[in-house]
Point group: C2
Chain length 393, copies 2
């Protein structure tokens, strides 16, 4: 399907269905008796039960399976600050995928404010109806503060998918890609091009998962302890990355790298740079729809495993592999927080869906449409929570 056809077809589809989600009824209400059970007077008994035991809301209402998909519309796809109304199509798409892949009810809330304090207090006020908060497409660095504060101040899980969803799927793909090239996490040099929300989250997760040599590059240059131009989050990750204190930009740090992860801009990596990398390079070029380097060029320059954000090339790094299962596991275990251990477990869960037999350079990560992934991820997350619980006993 070329882009013109796609535009026309997707517009027709959305216009015909008038959006992608609906709020449907789970119980019958056809008779007086039905009405007296689901509404007055019977519903008063449910209210009283919850007033006496608030935790019962998870069992007696839709709250226990309900996630809010919250955005302010400031960083929607690659389109930037297009506002809350124009963000609805993405958020209801997300809601739809939550339901389809994990059976979770998710509702899009597109906020008409960009003030972090206001966003925090709105989400806190909305929390009683939900058992999880998926933050989405909120621009950096505001997204960091909003997520951190909400994680601290709410007793339900809060997850900024643009950061952690991407990081989890990248880690999953790397776990399998390293098997292909026969390298280890400890002995590879990783270059992340792009030091926004996703880039920093990827660095954090890779370091926690056992990678030791990670370097981030932003438009201003390589992140380096002590550099004055970094924002607080960049300064913090710079403490743990670029251990050789290299100066310069991508052209300097790409030399001898084993892994390139691009969360940046179209076509910023060229074949010559790939050739400057260590033997058997792994390239994940995630800028969408135009990647940092096209797979055919990366392969021609010697890359062994190449992934993108696109569905029309092998190894699609798609957040859809992570968020449904992560939330499913979190809701099943009724956790207050999605921890970094749960994220690593999720990545390992995704990776293991690709069996040793199937694993090859064109297949290091399962298809985004693979229905078994969410269940596997949920199980991995739940197991990680159970192990933690046992350790605490």
């Amino acid at each position: 399907m070329n882009r013109d056809n796609l535009t026309e077809e997707t517009l027709n589809l959305h216009r015909t269905f008038k959006g992608k989600i609906e709020v449907a009824s789970k119980m019958p209400v056809d008779t007086e008796e039905d009405l007296s059970l689901v509404y007055t007077p019977g519903v008063a008994e449910i209210c009283k039960a919850i007033a006496d035991h608030p935790e019962e809301a998870d069992e007696l209402t839709s709250k226990g399976n309900m996630v809010a998909v919250v955005t302010d519309g400031t960083a929607v796809l690659g389109l930037g600050d297009i506002g809350p109304k124009a963000a609805i199509p993405v958020m209801e798409g997300k809601s739809m995928l939550f339901k389809k892949f994990a059976g979770i009810d998710a509702f899009p809330l597109c906020l008409d404010t960009q003030d972090p304090e206001e966003i925090i207090s709105i989400v806190k006020a909305l929390a009683p109806s939900f058992s999880g908060i998926n933050l989405e497409d909120i621009s950096a660095p505001r997204c960091f503060e909003i997520e951190e504060r909400l994680k601290k101040e709410l007793d339900i899980p809060v997850f900024h998918d643009d950061q952690h969803g991407t990081a989890i799927v990248v880690l999953a793909a790397l776990i399998n890609a390293l098997k292909i090239v026969n390298k280890s996490k400890q002995n590879t040099k990783v270059v992340i091009n792009g030091a926004g929300a996703a880039g920093i989250a990827i660095a954090d997760l890779l370091l926690y998962a056992g990678f030791t040599n990670v370097t981030l590059v932003s438009l201003e240059g390589v992140l380096r302890k002590g550099a004055s131009w970094m924002n607080p989050r960049q300064a913090s990750i710079a403490e743990k990355t670029n251990l050789n204190r290299m100066h310069g930009g991508l052209n300097e740090v790409i030399v001898g790298a084993d892994i390139f992860i691009g969360v940046s801009a179209p076509e910023v990596l060229n074949k010559e740079q790939v050739q400057m990398m260590e033997e058997d390079p792994i390239i994940f070029a995630l800028a969408n729809p135009v990647p940092e380097i096209y797979p055919e060029d990366a392969l021609e320059a010697g890359a062994v495993v190449v992934g993108t954000g696109r569905s029309d090339y092998p190894n699609q790094i798609n957040n859809l592999l992570a968020f449904p299962g992560i939330f499913k596991g979190a809701l099943n275990k009724k956790v207050r927080d999605i921890t970094i251990d749960m994220k690593v477990a999720a990545a390992e869960g995704i990776a293991k869906v690709v069996s040793e037999d199937e694993l090859c350079s064109d297949y290091v990560i399962p298809s985004a449409l693979n229905k078994t992934v969410a269940e596997t991820v949920a199980n991995a997350v739940e197991q990680s929570v159970s192990q933690k619980e046992e350790c605490l006993v």
Copy 2:
């Protein structure tokens, strides 16, 4: 079904279904092509279309058919201030009924704040995802300010159902009841017992619809111009009611009344008081589940038409007759506001569902489960809007 059985059965039902609503997907997403149309990359085209033409959000997303059911849990049913979590069962019941009776998607938002300014700013921030706001179970007098401000500051309809839903259905029942007793709006004396949100809204609507002699009684006594104990909303309605400036309480003003409307407390009207009313009294005793007077007692004391809030007696005054059709009409016409003319039209629409042939003292108002009501109400509302539009041309 006795109350013990009801409690057990409704708890079982809610526990089995885990609440009453779900967020369902309207489009298929099984293939790569589906995914590219409903999510990336196709969804970007929908976002861009809305960024360029914000009004397109109504056609291209679920927004055009989506209503928020908003509460702070301060006045839930007769249970009072039970908080936002305990309010969820009522709000999702409401969402379910919106869908069942009008095909409208409605989503419950139970807010963890009671500050009117905060509620107003939260609802304003949430507005981009919705085409209507149904306020519910917010205590008086805060509900007045919240509704008024939101009506002024938002360009989508805002409707506090406890006020206007009740008022509309009472007016509908009165239109038909007056035919039974052969009296006219202009020549009847109406006593409303209860001067909270519902009582004042009923008085407002009846006066606008042509009733001339209306008196409200609160716990403090009869509302009377100049009385010092009234809140601002009571003071305002007192300007237009109790034209004879009567003092005292229910016992004084009930003398010679044609119509008693109770939105107050259990068993506060006795047989002797009914006997003090004008010939052929009409009694709507809406306290729930125990009415101001039981129908058998009212009838024994001479009442001709008796209605309650209960489904196990004739003439149930149930908001369910109004809100689905009102919002359906408002959304169909994309109005910015639900005006008082639309409310009168809705009442007339409900009333006319009872045909002249069927009309009798036990049947002045259709059954809450009558599926034709919402459509009739929506049509009446739309016609009222069209007439207004023609007048303005």
